[in-house]
Amino acid sequence: MSASGTIEGAARREPHVPESTIGRKPDYLHAESTLRSWFFTTDHKRIAILYLTSITGFFVIGALAAGVVRLALIVPNGAIMTNDTYNKAFTIHGVVMVWFFLIPSIPATFGNFLIPLMIGAKDLAFPKLNLTSWYVFMGGALFTLVAVVLGGVDTGWTFYAPLSTAFSNSWVLPALIGVTIVGFSSILTGLNFVVTIHTMRAPGMTWFKLPIFVWAHYATSLIFLLATPVITTALVLLIAERAFHVGVFDPAFGGDPVLFQHLFWFYSHPAVYIMVLPGMGVISEIVPAFARKKLFGYRFVAYASIGLASVTFFVWGHHMFVNGQSDLASLVFSALSFAVAVPSAVKVYNWTATIHKGSLRLDTPMLYAMGYIGLFVLGGLTGLYLATLAINQHIHATYFVVAHFHYIMVGGTVLAFLGGLHFWWPKFTGRMYSEPWGRVSAVLIFLGFNVTFFPQFILGYLGMPRRYATYPPEFQLLNVLSSAGATILAAGYLFPMLYLVYSLWFGRKAPANPWDARGLEWETASPPPTLNFERPPEVPRIPYDYPIQATEAKDQHR
């Protein structure tokens, strides 16, 4: 569990040296430069960088697969590639993007880097476990990539039985094993965060002084702990089913394939909030910083994070309205799904109210944040269409669903990820990126995203089923439009990769707090020293202590 005992920890604490002094101890990036010092590091910041580089790689793989999918759909008759190639492309896209990008994206990178900084700790509670989780992640990724290299998987990322167990002739087993292993990495990360947030807060850092980012990650970590083991069991049973014909999901022996869907969605619906909540945390940091105003309704936003993480466990059945589950279950799950609207509305309206009467700077992170709010609102409300039973019977498993969850996953998580990446880039690397390029890319991504995915709402209610390699010719116009949007989106993704990497060497040196933002992570140098703070940070009187504060907000902290 805990690291080996070093008793001289306190002695290492250096006296505070002002930032401008040249002879300061090297920061975490420059403390050591051997490969060993990276691959065997227990520094949460370095582990975050390991995660950042690996998930960027997976994002590229997933995006390329998406490119293949959009390429195939330019023509309705499947002339560009075989159905089999198409099926493998969308499966790789789904598996890689969900399990190897979206789920670890914000928690394992920003969460890993920032939680100890934000709560004023020297590291996570279990640094070795943190490194282990990265190795477990890469181990799982290896299995899945082997499946892709050997010839791919064609089951869809949902792995529904009995297609995945008895009928698919592709490399399902290694892919399943990889995804199972990655679950352990999530569990270890979540465990580390929960314990760190509970036990490692600096003196005076009470729960209601924590940034919403930390609240959101606490809620996310609870989902990691409570949901992931169930998908592990489901996948272990699926592996056993495929390898040994266990029978529990196999109708040939009286097993029930719908049972797999229950276990799968018990995890995979909450997993949506694993992807969404950290993004909400990021937005809750960016919006006050660029509105120069205290976050509106802080306590409500904090409670809404925990609320979302709890409600999400009661609604998984809304993925199964047409799957033959009982009508009673459908009614119950549908009704409960509407409850998700409550905490989601709290978040959106509070962000909007934070902007009201602020003093706005529309820098790159803020552009992403504003794009996020708009797209998340659309994505969330279209989710309620799908939760409405009679509407679901029409648009279930159509492109409406595809558009809906891309509005949440890309419009939500990816925009928040990019916004956060730009917001904290100076902190991570000590360099500033090119602001004009940043703004151009943010606008490009927003436009490209909408051109890609808005037509898919229309395709969906017109009745085009998802996962179709070929489709009726009357849908071609909208599909071509969508593919055109995807090229804009691709350009929008490419620019940040280029100018961010460029800034590593040629960017302007970043000051400790380039945005004049609040929060303990801005109290230390950019990039921070290995043990995070030169001297114990002083916890502010209230969170989000920005110049503009509405009176009602102050009331909450009396």
């Binding site: 719908v258 120069r292 009508d327 549908s334 602020g358 706005l360 409300l381 017109l462």
Partner: protein, 322 residues
């Protein structure tokens, strides 16, 4: 393109009263969505312009009590959307309770084809002909993986499960031909697993049952089987395997490896499908076709032979029915 070109159509055709009701629900929900989102969009844009750094704006706190606002924007959208839960649930319950006089059509899903059997015994593959003005109940099951039958024109879909029956019912009120899909991903040819549903006047339907249902439907069914059993993968001109084509085959004289010559009649074709290793063909091609004995039911064998019988003298399988 003319304005009524299908590519420019922005709303799917509704062919039943339930479909119209579902559309009303969707449209009403869209109005609510706009009511809830447009103010947020306008507010964000307006605030972004009005309160930009350096602009002259009143930034004094409004003094509104935040708890009241918080509770109101938590509850009001929630209660508004609950109305739609109730509405959607009402339609859902209707859709789950078919009237007792519904005409029952049996549906079997299989990788990658649908088989429909009318109450009078006629069966169709992938295409479905149904009368309007008459409640129809589809009893659905799958023979292998999970499929889903989806008919957008009636705004309905339901999974075809391998272990138990599911059902769907509707009463079409519009004559026409509409799409019919598989909407639960089921493997390689998932996107090909579908066809057309044709809603007809009851008189026309009776007529179809007597004439077309028994005759013309056969070739189309045979073509679907030809695709579904994977025959097309080898026997269609241009395939990599270069198996013998069917153009002009039926009734012709076929030379065999042992020097004999046989007539490719129905009985010989049937036997050749079941036992490809018998009666080796002249020409020295390697015999790679697996035996389909026990894999294709007798009635479907007949359909396949009918399909080969009507295979056009030149060209591809698709032309056999067009």
């Amino acid at each position: 393109m003319t304005p009524d070109h299908p590519a420019l159509q922005l709303w799917p055709v509704a062919a039943s009263a339930t479909a119209v009701e579902t559309d009303e629900l969707i449209l009403a929900f869209t109005v609510l969505t706009l009511v809830l989102t447009v103010p947020v969009f306008i507010a964000i844009t307006w605030f972004a312009l009005r309160y930009r750094e350096g602009s002259e704006a009143d930034r004094t706190p409004s003094g509104i009590r935040s708890n009241l606002i918080e509770i109101s924007w938590m509850l009001i959208p929630f209660l508004l959307t609950l109305v739609f839960f109730a509405w959607g649930a009402k339609l859902f319950i209707q859709s789950k309770n078919p009237p007792p006089d519904a005409m029952v059509v049996e549906v079997i899903g299989r990788q990658w084809m649908w088989k429909f059997q009318h109450p009078t015994g006629q069966s169709e593959i992938n295409d479905l002909h149904l009368p309007i003005g008459q409640p129809i109940k589809l009893r659905i099951i799958s023979q292998d993986v999970i499929h889903a039958l989806y008919i957008p024109a009636v705004r309905m879909q339901i999974d075809a499960l391998p272990d138990r029956y599911t059902q769907m019912w509707f009463k079409a009120d519009k004559v026409g031909t509409f799409h019919l899909y598989c909407s639960e991903y089921c493997g390689t040819d998932h996107s090909v697993m579908g066809g057309k549903v044709t809603f007809m006047n009851p008189g026309d339907y009776q007529d179809w049952l007597v004439h077309a249902g028994a005759q013309q439907g056969k070739v189309a069914s045979g073509r679907a089987l030809y695709q579904a059993y994977g025959c097309a993968g080898c026997h269609e001109p241009g395939s990599a395997v270069r198996a013998p084509g069917f153009a002009g085959l039926f009734g012709s004289q076929v030379g065999l490896a042992d020097g004999r010559t046989v007539t490719a009649d129905a009985a010989w074709l049937r036997e050749k499908i079941l036992n490809p290793n018998g009666d080796r063909l002249a020409g020295g091609g390697k015999q790679v076709m697996p035996s389909f004995a026990g894999r294709i039911p007798e009635q479907e064998l007949g359909l396949l032979v009918d399909f080969i019988r009507s295979y056009p003298a030149t060209g591809h399988a698709a032309e056999a029915t067009r």
